[in-house]
């Protein structure tokens, strides 16, 4: 309960700061519009205003402060503008509409989930191979670790174009980018997890004359679950980033990344911010969903957390 009030205070402080930041960010645009509408503005021309600091303008034109929160195309939209845009583009618009964020979100989500499934599937397989084969461990594992220090996302535009040139397009190229972004965290986490049973436990299974497969199913796999879920949470966030970045070079057709790009081309800041928040909500929902699955599954397995 005490933490909840603390969290709410911090969130409220962030929103307050955001509103405050809107004033100096947007004041020039507001004053230009006011001058065109014929209002009294303290330095009368746009040229004089350009050389003045934002805070000086705010102090000189306090009547304009309220307008900085309701501008049409502000440099920094106020929180309620983003919220209204989010509401309009999700609830009010039909899902099939090209302007509906649900439509774009679902495009991104399907690429994310497909890529995540491919990436984690292959990642778990490779981890099993690494744990059971010393050769694979020694040759592949160092590269898997090094690859985490590399910005592999730089490959994204190339993958899209290469796959396009051999005739693959649509969902799959984005999913492949998502897949390789979630692949390496899962490999590293899963290897750690499959190795987590200590010697005593492994020896006990040996005294039971358990085969390698039995040891895998009954000891290694169950004890790897906490590690697996920790890396799955990293993996799904990375998958979403991959899907969004993968949408950028396709020429902005559909998806949250396309909304971001289109917004930045046409200066539609409110659209950018609402796409950004939609992506954030999506990421939070996916991570939270994994958290619920983790709690239920580990609870059933009898792991105390």
């Amino acid at each position: 309960m005490k933490s909840l009030t603390a969290i709410l205070t911090v969130v409220a402080a962030i929103i307050g700061l955001w509103y405050a930041a809107c004033v100096p960010m947007n004041i020039k645009g507001v004053l230009d519009a006011a001058e065109r509408a014929g209002a009294e503005v303290t330095p009368a021309t746009a040229r004089e205003r350009r050389d003045m600091g934002e805070f000086g303008l705010v102090a000189g034109n306090s009547f304009a402060i309220a307008d900085t929160w309701v501008q049409d195309r502000p440099r920094l939209p106020a929180p309620h503008q983003v919220a209204v845009e989010l509401w309009n583009t999700t609830v009010e618009k039909k899902i099939t509409s090209k302007r509906s964020l649900i439509y774009h979100g679902q495009v991104t989500l399907s690429a994310t989930l497909l890529g995540f499934a491919i990436g984690t599937g292959l990642g778990i397989l490779l981890a099993v191979g690494i744990v059971h084969s010393k050769v694979m461990d020694m040759s592949v594992m160092p590269w898997a670790i090094v690859s985490q220090t590399i910005p592999i996302i730089a490959l994204a535009p190339m993958i899209i174009v290469v796959l396009y040139s051999i005739g693959v397009q649509g969902l799959l190229p984005k999913a492949i980018i998502s897949a390789y972004l979630s692949f390496f965290p899962v490999v590293v986490g899963m290897v750690k997890g499959l190795r987590s049973p200590d010697h005593m436990q492994l020896d006990l299974l040996k005294t039971y004359n358990a085969s390698t497969a039995q040891g895998f199913w009954k000891l290694r796999l169950p004890s790897s679950m906490p590690y697996l879920f920790a890396s799955l949470k990293i993996g799904i966030a990375a998958s979403l980033v991959g899907a969004i970045v993968g949408e950028l070079p396709t020429g902005a057709v559909a998806g949250l990344g396309a909304r971001l790009l289109a917004g930045s081309y046409y200066g539609q800041t409110v659209q950018i911010w609402s796409a950004l928040f939609a992506a954030a909500l999506l990421a939070a929902a996916l991570v939270a969903l994994l958290g619920v699955i983790e709690r239920v599954l580990l609870g059933r397995m009898g792991v105390r957390s």
Binding site: K134, P151, A154, P249, A280
Partner: protein, 281 residues
């Protein structure tokens, strides 16, 4: 066909050598532990080269490693300019500002239990969000040059470092803090002599995660607009011209820079936290 066959042979030979090495009695020595991944990497490169030549794969789909190496050597000046623009100006300056701000914020937050309770969950939440998405906004605010890239990097590295530092500053236990109190140590004395050193492993954990994020942020931000220099710019335009050898050369630069950056942080960590159990093994 000969080349494809040769590729298969090379693969089998590499694997055979590796399995002999890995199962030999010397497999725990440092030399073998470096040799095995080295041989594996070399095998992959050779197989790649042979397959691309043998199957006549078009340059547009996958250039051979030798072609990439030639392109890399020929365009060193361009690559160097891109490296300076993206990594040194964009990523490094953003990294320093972002991590510095996060460390200072963490020290400030740490003094108040209330703030810490509130900020930790929020920070954890934000650290999981797709923050690269702020790139178009920041490019709009700070212009096309490296300042906007540095801003994206600041936003990306801030929360992971903040969360790790705040968690690290809680690492000391009551006994240790009590001991400092019996010495009549002031807040800052116990901070610098006890709590900051104890937090260092956590801080470095955050700093290491942030190195990769910094490069990702700087490169992706260039996809949203940049001057006509920079790694992200070069990648997106070369992809457009189907000059994939240039793209691969840039990716090689990114890989080298990323590993060097990360390796540098590991080196600093080793010298500063030599006392920690994870470093003594």
């Amino acid at each position: 066909m000969m080349l494809v066959l040769l590729a298969v042979i090379v693969w089998c030979a590499g694997w055979w050598v590796n399995s002999r090495l890995a199962n030999s009695p010397q497999s725990q020595t440092r030399l073998v532990q470096l040799l095995v991944p080295g041989i594996f990497g070399l095998t992959i490169l050779l197989v790649w080269e042979l397959l691309v030549r043998g199957l006549d794969v078009s340059l547009v789909i996958l250039p051979a490693p030798s072609v990439i190496a030639v392109r890399f050597a020929e365009s060193l000046p361009i690559l160097w300019a891109d490296f300076m623009q993206t990594i040194v100006k964009g990523a490094l300056s953003g990294y320093v500002i972002g991590c510095g701000a996060a460390l200072l914020t963490a020290v400030a937050v740490d003094r108040s239990d209330f703030l810490r309770r509130g900020l930790l969950p929020v920070g954890n939440f934000v650290a999981a969000l797709p923050i690269v998405g702020t790139a178009p906004i920041l490019v709009m605010w700070f212009g096309f040059d490296w300042q906007s890239k540095a801003a994206v990097v600041v936003v990306m590295v801030f929360f992971p470092v903040l969360v790790n530092t705040v968690a690290g500053l809680r690492e000391t236990d009551q006994m240790q803090r009590d001991l400092m109190q019996t010495y009549a140590a002031s807040y800052w004395q116990s901070f610098f002599k006890l709590r900051l050193p104890a937090a260092l492993p956590f801080i470095f954990n955050g700093l290491k995660i942030a190195t990769t994020l910094a490069l990702v942020g700087a490169i992706v931000a260039e996809f949203f607009g940049s001057p006509t220099v920079g790694m992200g710019f070069r990648i997106s335009t070369s992809v457009g011209q189907l000059a994939l050898d240039m793209v691969w050369a840039e990716i090689l630069v990114a890989a080298l820079a990323g590993s060097a950056f990360y390796g540098g942080m590991v080196l600093i960590e080793k010298t500063l936290t030599f006392w920690h159990p994870s470093q003594r093994g």
